[in-house]
């Protein structure tokens, strides 16, 4: 039996669960753990500039790989700074383990220096948490944390480690558990056969079916199965903001994104369908619009690994609890051999209808003459990255433009804070992506508002030579807020613009990077080419875009899915 300190146990357990990379920031309560990290080089550590960014980096790392991201922070402010990052991961079901230092056990509850009840603070936004009570429990707590974080519906798990337990002067026996299964935690992976049978019956007899795909399909790595079933049954497919890439946006059966800023064809198809096959999606309010008017004629088959997601907002007629990949296998084998030509013929009328909606070309926009339109920037990004980049995004108009104008062909290519809508997510997430995929292009689409919420990480980028491409759509305003103020508040722009915008080019240069300013539509293509010619440098593209551009289509509040504005003057 190996004898070691609690701090060494933390590092040893990380090795035993296969952790390669930790994003963190040292401080009093975790100095022993940092000392143990110093003594080895198997587990690499990334020193961030703010703990919130550490959580977003771990998040980007996890989203782009499917592996669990790891965060290490000190007690008190170190721990509480991660809260937004944890909530972001929780809302989007991202596997993450947060190791937080805690004041020594005997001082817990005394309002000691840098004490916060991290287990309590994080309780509503974690899948589970551990406050470790004995040093010998460390390996087990860490092993369980990783097991819980990345099984079932993934999510963040906090492990709070009091300082006395990790003291480098005290040695304890290290035993890594062989088995971490828990009697109280056994996620259901396979769908119930009776439900599968019912689902297949409804699906095969449907005249106007649609597949509605969410982030759960990406988590389950079900992309090839999705394509298989969609092609076999000739189904139209729409993805949620979180599901983009699960089914290729470039596929002829793809209708693009649905929901608040979804395409006309996606929302129309949903609204008029008679059967919705929902896969790993959760009928979020940004999808359904008014639930009372939601898809009135559809029989809903809802496949989700989390029973609480089923019938939470919209009632499912055929609930199937299970992971998307397993359930798709079951559906596939239950459907068996069918006449694909006949199936194609059966849905031909439906497809004709869909093509009419598509023909409206709802994503068309007037190209800028003097001013760059944000849509053009995304199209240019698509062109210059061959559609193959990892695109992380911040939150706001630019996020929606990226989701709509960059058709993602592969899962995990699109990294955004969908559920929580966290501004400041993009840059650190793109860094996590770049750490996990050193040879890939990691771009972040951001805006002048969002980028300033974690801009200090440009310093971390220099330290680790991350050649990220920052595509900042600078409209001198908080664009999405401004859009709502234009539409709902009669153009009263209450605190939605910034009068002291920094010179982002100089700022990028001050951090040691390349900055490029783009003002005119004619410069865009060349500037983008220059940007991607710097393969080993971070390039900050400060692109001045039209301040008055709105994101369309947009659902009309309290309406049905297909009640939409298509432009400033046109609605459905």
């Amino acid at each position: 039996m190996k004898m070691m300190s609690g701090a060494a146990m933390v590092v040893e357990a990380l090795k035993d669960v296969g952790v390669e990379l930790v994003f963190g920031y040292p401080g009093g309560a975790v100095l022993d753990i940092y000392d143990a990290l110093f003594a080895q080089d198997q587990v690499k550590h990334v020193l961030v500039r703010h703990e919130q960014a550490a959580a977003h980096m771990a998040d980007g790392y996890a989203r782009s790989t499917g592996k669990t991201g790891t965060v290490l922070v000190t007690s008190g402010p170190g721990a509480t700074n991660t809260i937004t990052g944890i909530a972001t991961a929780y809302m989007d079901s991202i596997p993450m383990v947060i190791l937080s230092g805690q004041v020594p056990s005997m001082h817990i509850g005394e309002d000691a220096f840098q004490e916060t009840d991290m287990v309590g603070c994080s309780r509503p936004i974690v899948k589970h948490s551990f406050l470790v009570k004995k040093a010998t429990d460390i390996p087990q707590a860490i092993a369980k944390a990783y097991y819980i974080a990345n099984t079932g519906r993934p999510g963040p798990v906090v492990v709070d480690l009091p300082k006395d337990l990790v003291n480098i002067a005290d040695e304890h026996p290290y035993v890594f558990p062989d088995d971490v299964t828990m009697r109280s935690y056994q996620p259901t992976l396979k769908g119930h056969n009776k439900q599968i049978k019912k689902a297949v019956e409804v699906l095969l007899s449907a005249k106007r079916p649609v597949m509605y795909v969410g982030g759960g399909a990406i988590t389950a790595e079900a992309d090839s199965r999705l394509i298989g079933l969609a092609e076999k049954l000739n189904l139209p497919v729409t993805c949620t903001l979180m599901g983009l890439g699960a089914f290729p946006g470039t596929h002829c059966q793809s209708l693009g994104m649905l929901g608040m800023h979804g395409t006309l064809e996606a929302n129309k198809t949903m609204h008029n369908s008679d059967c919705i096959l929902a896969l790993g999606a959760r009928f979020d309010d940004r999808v359904t619009n008014n639930v009372a008017k939601f898809c009135p004629n559809a029989t809903i088959i809802h496949v989700d690994i989390d029973p609480t997601s089923i019938s939470k907002t919209v009632n499912a007629h055929i609930p199937v609890v299970g992971s998307v990949d397993k359930v798709l296998d079951q559906l596939e084998s239950h459907i068996g051999d069918i006449d694909e030509q006949q199936q194609k013929h059966k849905l031909s009328e439906w497809w004709e209808q869909i093509e009419q909606w598509r023909a409206k070309k709802c994503l068309n926009y007037a190209k800028g003459v003097d001013q760059i339109k944000p849509q053009e920037v995304i199209e240019s990004l698509y062109k210059h990255t061959d559609g193959k980049a990892f695109v992380s995004s911040d939150v706001g108009q630019h996020q929606m433009f990226a989701a709509l104008y960059y058709p993602f062909a592969k899962p995990r290519q699109w990294i955004n804070s969908g559920g929580l809508g966290t501004m400041g997510f993009g840059l650190p997430a793109a860094m996590g992506v770049q750490f996990a995929n050193p040879n890939a292009i990691s771009a972040v689409v951001t805006g002048d508002g969002s980028i300033q919420m974690n801009i200090q990480e440009l310093s971390t980028c220099l330290q680790y030579n991350l050649p990220i491409k920052v595509i900042s759509l600078n409209n001198r305003a908080l664009g999405m807020v401004r859009q709502w103020q234009d539409m709902i508040y009669k153009g009263r722009h209450s605190h939605s613009y910034m009068e002291s915008m920094p010179d982002f080019v100089k700022l990028a240069e001050a951090y040691g990077h390349v900055g490029i300013r783009v003002n005119h539509p004619d410069e865009l293509d060349d500037a983008m080419r220059e940007c991607f010619s710097h393969t080993d440098r971070l390039v900050f593209m400060d692109i001045a875009v039209d301040q008055n551009e709105h994101v369309y289509p947009m659902q009309i509040k309290y309406g049905a899915m297909d009640d939409m504005r298509l432009s400033k003057t046109e609605r459905t």
Partner: protein, 166 residues
């Protein structure tokens, strides 16, 4: 509608706060909560009295079930069940007449006087919530209530159905 949700969970530190937090976080009602370890000391059993429509109750049971420490959840109200609550109630008994009236009511309700003082009685009564409410109302009419404390409901399914780790 009133529901009795029975929960079997790991008797681990912090488990209870997760349940209580879940109810407040998601806006569910808690009318009473009763919790203690079971015959198996590694497990705790909770009984939560809540109310809501079918959709809300379905979400509550699913959300509680989703907590990592929770092993089983059952809505006892769906089937035949036994529910009991215990109340201790202290009443002022300054005169013989009041003492006699209190004693009479205690007998009628099959309650017990568990502590006697010069000026007050403390009474223990077990039963359904409705019975305890009725007893408290009756007491109010015959004596002044000084204080009372109730455990909240605990319950078991009737017959062979049981909430246990298989």
């Amino acid at each position: 509608m009133k529901r009795i949700i029975s929960v079997l969970m790991e008797n681990a530190p912090g488990s209870l706060s997760r349940i209580v937090g879940l109810f407040s976080q998601r806006g569910y009602n808690v009318d009473s909560l009763c919790v203690a370890p079971t015959d198996d000391s590694s497990l705790s059993r909770l009984t939560i009295i809540t109310h809501g429509d079918d959709k809300a109750i379905e979400q509550i049971t699913k959300q509680v079930n989703k907590l990592i420490d929770v092993l089983r959840v059952v809505d006892l109200t769906e089937n035949a069940h036994i529910e009991r609550e215990l109340m201790l109630i202290k009443v002022l008994t300054p005169t013989d007449a009041i003492r006699a009236e209190v004693k009479r009511n205690v007998d009628i309700f099959r309650a017990r006087i568990v502590d006697v003082n010069a000026s007050n009685y403390t009474i223990e009564i077990t039963g359904t919530t409705e019975k305890l409410d009725a007893f408290a109302d009756t007491m109010k009419q015959s004596a002044e209530i000084i204080e009372s404390s109730r455990t909240g409901v605990c319950g078991l399914a009737r017959g062979e159905r049981a909430l246990r780790v298989s």
